[in-house]
């Protein structure tokens, strides 16, 4: 039988506010345990939550960016359950009336088409603390630094049909929240993580199959692998005559498999009800408009502009706009260069990307700034150096040896464009290799490369390649 996969994702994006969603404690990552937890975060008797305005502004920006309805009135509710890292015994979340209502986002598929994915809702909530089981023998530690950190939970429609689509969707949202500056997107630190609801059904069947929820996936690779494993597991189960049970599953990245955590029967009854400590969140038009004004150019719009303005292909434009920082770098480079958008694109996506990748750096941490790279590309453009020499200069730039011009001068890398000088070098090479010359003239064309190499060697690679080719061809014919 042919099976169709149905996936919906719940993504938790940690909002980049300075303080927590209901208290004034700091949200910075990595502080010593429990040093960033105030009386409110600890759930002491008598404390009360006060909503962080900035978290609301960020949620509204997100809503506007996905063309969603922004609720003029939304409600915070309590989700009740007991766990040691949940200090109050309930999580403040939004349940029936979320701040961001239905919206959508378009993802690019591998065949070049794009697909619109529905976003059911996005709501504000507080994160829980962390239980630390490893560091204590026979005991568990509780770190409440993360308790009360603002999260935006973004719930998709079950519109995704493969693990690839799921990853493309997650990447698209990852790009978007970072463009908006509302989430740092750091997946290792858990700032951007997701739960995947996965089911399969016979192709052509309208009703959904029973789904399993895979919890807490914190890398794109894990999302892809976990879904693939889960889909395979469900298909095998069904084909063997079994049934899928609705349950929560965990992905084990070491074994590459998902396993049952708890079934629906064991699921908590969260006893949601409106939080009486918080009034309904009422947003006025002025607040929403100010969030709209603060929206940056969004990834899709910027990609289209790169295509239109710089004449880039869709793929290149997509890569260069994948992060706001990368796109900013590229635009700064083109501006410094006064044009040459394709040359700039080749270098940013080529040598620069490779070097960053190798060093494990983000574009924002690049040791070669856009101005410096522009200095190098200008010299390629005015033929002071060849593309090949440029790679050497780039390496020197990367190692912090100063401006491109200084490196070229210090290392004597200026390209030889003087016809007489190149001719002299060619003559010297031909004189030194009479045998090869004879063979070439007897028809062994492959030796052309040998002569180019010898001339380059003699000129230390500085001969202008185009001129060298032209002049060499002439001399060889003579």
């Amino acid at each position: 039988m042919e099976w169709e996969t149905v996936i919906g994702l719940e993504i938790h994006a940690q909002l980049s506010t300075n303080s927590k969603i209901f208290s004034g404690a700091a949200t910075a990552y990595g502080a010593a345990p429990n040093t960033q937890a105030c009386a409110i975060d600890l759930g002491l008797p008598g404390v009360l939550p006060v909503l962080n305005r900035e978290a609301v502004r960020m949620a509204v920006m997100f809503g506007l960016a996905i063309e969603a309805g922004v609720a003029r009135r939304s409600v915070f509710a309590r989700k009740n359950y007991f766990y040691p890292d949940l200090p109050k015994g309930y999580q403040i979340s939004q349940y029936e009336l979320p701040v961001v209502q239905r919206g959508q986002i378009s993802i690019d598929l591998e065949d070049g088409d794009s697909k619109v994915i529905g976003i059911t809702r996005a709501h504000l909530e507080e994160d829980a603390g962390k239980s630390l089981h490893e560091d204590f023998h026979g005991l568990s530690g509780i770190d409440l630094n993360r308790a009360g950190t603002p999260l935006l939970e973004i719930v998709s429609e079950p519109d995704l049909r493969s693990s690839r689509e799921a990853v493309a969707y997650m990447k698209k949202l990852h790009t978007l929240v970072r463009y908006l500056g509302i989430c740092d997107g750091n997946m290792q630190e858990g700032s951007f993580r997701c739960d995947a609801n996965v089911s399969v059904r016979p192709k052509g069947q309208a009703a959904f199959g029973t789904r399993a929820e895979i919890k807490n996936l914190n890398s794109f690779r894990f999302v892809e692998r976990a879904i693939e494993f889960e889909v395979q597991r469900q298909i095998e189960l069904l084909e063997d005559g079994g049934t899928v049970v609705q349950e929560t599953r965990l992905y084990d990245p070491d074994k590459g498999e998902t396993r049952a955590m708890r079934s629906k029967e064991e699921a908590n009854d969260y006893r949601y009800f409106p939080d009486p400590d918080l009034l309904p969140l009422v947003l006025d038009e002025a607040f929403i408009e100010s969030a709209r004004t603060a929206l940056p150019e969004l990834p899709d719009a910027r990609k289209q502009r790169f295509i239109d303005q710089y004449g880039l292909g869709a793929y290149d434009a997509g890569v260069l706009t994948a992060s706001r920082e990368l796109a900013d770098y590229y635009e700064a480079l083109v501006e410094a260069l006064g044009g040459e958008p394709k040359l700039a694109a080749n270098w940013v996506m080529g040598d620069l990307a490779a070097a960053l990748n190798k060093a494990g750096l983000e574009i924002a941490q690049s040791p070669v700034g856009a101005d410096r790279l522009a200095g190098l590309l200008e010299r390629i453009q005015d033929r002071t150096i060849s593309g090949k020499i440029a790679k050497e200069v780039f390496e020197a730039l990367w190692n912090g040896e100063g401006e491109a011009d200084a490196i070229i001068a210090r290392r004597g890398l200026r390209q030889i464009t003087d016809t007489t000088a190149i001719e002299q070098a060619i003559d010297a090479v031909l004189r030194a290799n009479p045998e090869q010359l004879a063979q070439y003239r007897a028809g062994k064309d492959k030796l052309l490369g040998f002569f180019v190499g010898q001339v380059m060697k003699l000129t230390q690679g500085k001969a202008n390649p185009q001129q060298l080719n032209d002049l060499l061809a002439k001399k060889l014919k003579a």
């Binding site: 600890l42 002491l44 008797p45 008598g46 006060v50 309590r78 009740n80 040691p84 009034l279």
Partner: protein, 483 residues
């Protein structure tokens, strides 16, 4: 000195008749002598009180004193007090030293009021007799065999017995007004949101409201002046200006329209209490007020609605007492579930457990619509009833409680009968309105209280209406037979 009102003590301090330290010592001595039989206090903070008193005397000497500098009061043990045990009447918080002050405590301190201690209360404010306290029941100064009412029974008894001239309390379903009535003192529950809930341990957040006890309306006005006001730390606190409550105290009552809900004078009201109430209403007529009968058609639904909403909120509010971070923890927990179940099972008393279970049930999947949602709908109807009535009259009056103080142990095993002692007070919390109780007479030596209910933020009107009555009567000056 102990028989003087707050206003009189403040005048005495101002005139230099006595120092705050002398006054504080006198009252601490009295507490030491009388409280063993009353049990109005859970904690007496003698040393810090004397320090605060001396500080108040220094401020006065330096000319930096305010109207109430150096006047001693007590706080209900539901308000967090920095460095002092805040038990909420529960074993589960018996070892809890609050690391911060409630806004109410902070404001009282800023006004120079001296805290003598923390008063007894029903556990987590759940009860109408102060018998559910982990620290044992408080006794009624008018009759040691009677309950003082609850949940703020310790505060009411302490004021009645002249251990303190004034005290704070909280009122979720009548917890200030009912003990004020049963102990023969003056108590005010302000409009929901008038007094900050920051640092006030939550029972039912949408109903809880802090307020004050005194012997006179004038004293309660002085205390409310200190306690009221917007607090950015409480999202439900009202951002409304606080009027001068003393300024309008003596306004004449001529033309005042008093509404008498027929539902508050029917079946269930003790006949002798009804007579005392009628007599007090006659006094109001003599003061120039016009009495009109009104109706609150949904009054009968207040108790069932309250006993869904309050337990629902309490089941969630009390989830934090889990033995993990502070408070009581059972011995040698075997695992997490054992830690939770035994810490809570041993830490909470029967009434608290009863309400947690009722509330958990009411919020459960499949029951939410039938209970919680329905109760909220009734709550809206009750609010509409009051708004409609208050469009016709200035205040609504009736008995605070259907009976005078009952005997200790009389109702403790019969929760439903106990719940009915709040039948006239609960609806006021559901509507969020201000309500007040003043002493208006006795039945068999036990005090009777008259409740008045005003419009939103009309505390000044209630205080005025009470003050005019107290100017022509002396029920509030009667001394109970203790000490």
């Amino acid at each position: 000195m102990h028989t003087q009102t707050i206003a009189e003590l403040a005048a005495g301090l101002r005139a230099g008749d006595f120092s705050s330290e002398e006054l504080t010592r006198t009252l601490l001595d009295r507490i030491g002598r009388l409280d063993p039989q009353l049990n109005a206090f859970i904690t007496v903070t003698a040393e810090p009180a004397l320090e605060q008193a001396r500080a108040a005397d220094r401020r006065r000497a330096a000319g930096e004193s305010g109207a109430l500098t150096g006047v001693p009061i007590a706080h209900k043990d539901i308000f967090c007090t920095l460095g002092v045990r805040t038990s909420c009447g529960s074993r589960i918080l018996d070892n809890f030293i609050a690391p911060y002050d409630a806004t109410v405590v902070e404001k009282c301190q800023a006004a120079g009021l001296v805290m003598l201690g923390k008063t007894n209360m029903d556990e987590f404010a759940m009860g109408s007799s102060t018998e559910t306290s982990y620290y044992g029941p408080t006794r009624n100064p008018w009759d040691l065999n009677a309950v003082p009412g609850g949940s703020s029974g310790g505060s009411a008894a302490a004021v009645a017995a002249r251990l303190v001239p004034g005290a704070t309390g909280t009122d979720t379903g009548g917890s200030i007004r009912q003990p004020a009535s049963l102990c023969g003192v003056t108590g005010l529950k302000p409009t929901y949101g008038r007094v900050s809930r920051w640092g006030m341990i939550a029972y039912a957040s949408s109903l809880d409201q802090g307020g004050a006890f005194g012997r006179t309306a004038e004293d309660v006005a002085l205390l409310l002046q200190v306690m009221a006001g917007f607090d950015p730390r409480d999202s439900t606190s009202a951002d409304q200006p606080v009027p001068d409550y003393s300024a309008t105290l003596n306004d004449p009552l001529a033309g005042l329209k008093i509404g008498l809900p027929r539902e508050y004078f029917g079946e269930g009201l003790d006949a002798q209490v009804a007579e005392v109430i009628e007599e007090s209403l006659a006094e109001y007529r003599r003061l120039g007020a016009e009495l009109v009968e009104i109706s609150l058609p949904n009054a009968g639904l207040a108790i069932p609605s309250y006993y869904v909403i309050a337990p629902a909120e309490c089941s969630s509010n009390l989830a934090r007492f889990d033995g993990v971070r502070y408070g009581y923890r059972c011995e040698n927990p075997q695992d997490l579930l054992d830690l939770y179940t035994r810490s809570r099972g041993e830490g909470f008393g029967a009434e608290v457990k009863r309400r947690i279970m009722i509330g958990t049930y009411a919020l459960s999947a499949g029951y939410y619509d039938a209970y919680y949602l329905k109760a909220q709908q009734i709550r809206r109807l009750i609010g509409q009833d009051f708004r409609a009535a208050l469009a016709q009259v200035d205040v609504i009056m009736g008995p605070t409680s259907p009976t005078v103080a009952f005997d200790l142990g009389e109702k403790v095993d019969d929760p439903v009968t106990m719940y009915l002692s709040d039948i006239y007070t609960i609806a006021v919390n559901l509507a969020g309105l201000p309500g007040m109780s003043i002493p208006v007479g006795f039945v068999d030596g036990r005090p009777v209280g008259l409740q008045s209910i005003g419009n939103y933020f009309a505390e000044a009107k209630l205080l005025n209406v009470a003050q005019r009555y107290q100017q022509v009567t002396d029920w509030h000056r009667r001394l109970p037979p203790v000490g």
